[in-house]
């Protein structure tokens, strides 16, 4: 009887005062929807910037052979021949959080095609190189695993090299080039990337590392091993693990004597993490301000109805309804309003986020569960506290005081 009476009283009271209930719900809906939408847009922007940084290769660790020391005379980093294909396989197989490993054996050489020739960097490598260096194909395919296994005489041209040998914009796939008197089939052309540091990836020819070692350089060593960590946060661990592994493989006990060196793109990482940090602060402020604005809206709606409600509470007390029942009814009203408004707010916020994604294709918004929970939690808490607390206070007044409340 009591429960059904409270539920009936609540639903009647909310539906009898449609404007009041509607405005309260609107306040809650706007509060919650704005938090969800703003955070979704912010996180979308953050993800899009993070992926741009990702494509520059911020997760890249480069292993180079160390300086060869003989009797105190150093011949400079990269001059010794200490890294092998097996080192690369060991890194790939034994270390966690690695996305790709690409050993590289490169040398400059003269290249000829039908009637044209150029001098360019010949990069012997494996299929993972495309992953590590974010290489995108304009046509054809990159060097494949099978080509590496089979010592295949195939070549992928950088965009600039293609322009030099076959003319700008042509598609040389299927044609033949000659490197150091060995014929290679052209199987692909990369999309122009622009320069990166001292090497220009567009002015290069990529061939299987086995073919390079066999036909071009005659090396059994590799000049560098590029390692892509699976994400930026595991960079430090991956770098330490590579160092430990190679020291063990090369039987070196003193890290000072290492015959290799590790470098990463520290400045890019620093920039990336400072951008991420700024974004985190931005997002928190947006969420905080939206929550504050929404919360104050909800609070105002709840408090402005107090005068009328106080008289009603006085009347209810005067006709002999117990305080506990009055409290329960008002609590039920506040809960019903905030949950209904909260639900609508989540739906509206979600919809608005999707709409923004639709209208601005470059910005993929991301609705996060935590922002939904935060918005819903704070708004319902504010709604319930400010809906229930004044009613509770009014129920504690003497009936006459409550009835005369102005």
């Amino acid at each position: 009887m009591i429960i059904t009476d409270i539920l009936k009283e609540t639903s009647w009271s909310l539906s009898a005062n449609k404007v009041r209930s509607g405005l309260t719900i609107l306040g809650i809906v706007i509060g919650i929807a704005s938090v969800i939408t703003m955070v979704a847009i912010g996180q979308g922007a953050q993800a899009s910037i993070a992926s741009s940084i990702q494509s520059i290769g911020s997760n890249l660790i480069i292993v180079r052979p160390g300086a060869q020391k003989s009797g105190g005379v150093s011949s400079g980093a990269g001059s010794s021949a200490t890294l092998t294909n097996d080192d690369a396989s060991a890194i790939k197989n034994e270390i966690a959080n690695i996305a790709a490993v690409a050993p590289e054996d490169s040398k400059r050489a003269q290249v000829t095609a039908k009637g044209t020739n150029t001098n360019t960097q010949i990069v012997g490598t494996v299929a993972d190189y495309a992953v590590v260096r974010s290489i995108v194909m304009e046509s054809g395919t990159f060097v494949t695993e099978n080509a590496v296994k089979a010592n295949a005489k195939v070549a992928v041209l950088g965009a600039t090299t293609r322009d030099d040998l076959f003319g700008a914009g042509s598609d040389p796939v299927g044609k033949i080039i000659r490197i150091k008197n060995v014929d290679f089939d052209v199987i692909g052309v990369t999309v122009a990337k622009g320069g990166s540091g001292f090497t220009n990836p567009d002015d290069s020819i990529y061939i299987p590392i086995t073919s390079s070692q066999h036909f071009i350089t005659g090396n059994t060593f590799v000049s560098t091993i590029s390692v892509a960590a699976s994400d930026q946060s595991s960079m430090a661990d991956v770098q330490n693990n590579i160092s430990d592994l190679l020291l063990k493989r090369h039987n070196i006990s003193d890290p000072e004597q290492a015959d290799f060196s590790l470098t990463n793109q520290a400045d890019i990482i620093a920039t990336a993490s400072s951008i991420t940090g700024t974004f985190t602060i931005l997002l928190s402020s947006i969420a905080g301000i939206s929550l504050l604005v929404g919360g104050i809206g909800i609070m105002n709606m709840m408090l402005t109805t107090v005068t009328e409600r106080t008289r009603e509470i006085g009347l209810r007390k005067a006709v002999g309804i117990k305080k506990a029942y009055i409290n329960m009814q008002f609590l039920a009203e506040a809960v019903a309003l905030t949950f209904f408004g909260g639900f609508l707010g989540v739906v509206l916020g979600w919809g608005a986020s999707l709409l923004v994604s639709k209208l601005v294709p470059s910005l993929t918004t991301q609705v996060s569960m935590s922002s939904v929970l935060l918005a819903f939690g704070v708004s319902t808490a504010v709604g319930i506290v400010f809906g229930f607390y004044p009613a509770r206070r009014a129920a504690n007044l003497s009936p006459m005081e409550a009835l005369r409340y102005e």
Binding site: W12, V319, G320, S398, M400
Partner: protein, 238 residues
């Protein structure tokens, strides 16, 4: 359903009631050692100017406030010792209120307003509705208005609804606090006639007013001034 058998016994008994309001160092004596009793079936007007203590007395009689000193028995039950919830219970079961400002729930049907005191009581919806309809008819409300919203009624109609609400639990006394204060003279007469009719049907009515003409409708007038009873006169006209 709302009528009860007239049987003479003491309905209200006040013994040495005092009410002192304390604010800071200031003491205000609102009621000073007031004693009187009201029998079942009486129609009593308590009259006095503002500040006389009549409102304080009404609050105590209505179990809305408790006296600082003294004892108050309503229908044989000592009220001054009850706690908040027991007072609520007592108000629901024994007292029907009619207020100056009507105090109906806004935007709410007449029927629902009358049923309000039955909320959370052990009655079915059908019983509540039947009782409310009976009381409305008893208070002289046309049946066609039962489903009207309270704010669509005239002042006189509102007060009839309030009277019907006060009758719903078949109370021991009906306590009317300036029931005509918000009504014009003509409507006031009609409402006072309604109270007289209720009294003739056996209801005990206590009326609080500051107007002599309104008090004249009662059969006994207690006038109060400065917290003490100035006079207690049986109205000989009746």
């Amino acid at each position: 359903m709302c009528a009860f058998v007239a049987r003479y016994h003491t309905m209200i008994e006040c013994k040495n009631l005092s009410k002192i309001y304390q604010s800071g160092d200031m003491q205000t004596v609102a009621l000073n050692d007031v004693s009187f009793s009201i029998e079942k079936g009486e129609f009593v007007a308590i009259i006095g100017p503002s500040g006389s203590g009549k409102s304080t007395l009404m609050h105590i009689l209505g179990a809305l406030d408790s006296p600082t000193k003294g004892e108050y028995f309503l229908d044989g039950q000592e009220v001054s010792k009850l706690d908040d919830d027991e007072l609520s219970q007592l108000r629901r079961d024994k007292i029907g209120f009619v207020f100056q400002a009507f105090n109906l729930l806004p935007r709410t049907t007449v029927l629902r307003n009358v049923m309000l005191p039955l909320l959370y009581s052990d009655t079915t919806d059908q019983q509540r509705e039947d009782r409310a309809k009976a009381c409305l008819a008893y208070a002289g409300m046309e049946e066609s208005k039962f489903l009207n919203l309270s704010n669509q009624l005239s002042g006189g109609q509102m007060q009839r609804v309030a009277i019907a609400r006060s009758l719903i639990n078949n109370p021991a006394i009906i306590l009317a606090d300036e029931p005509t204060g918000n009504l014009d003279t003509k409507t006031s007469q009609v409402v006072m006639k309604a109270f007289q009719e209720l009294n003739q049907k056996g209801h005990t009515i206590v009326l609080i007013t500051h107007e002599q003409e309104i008090a004249a409708f009662a059969e006994r007038v207690i006038s109060i001034r400065d917290g003490i009873i100035e006079s207690d006169i049986k109205n000989t006209k009746k």
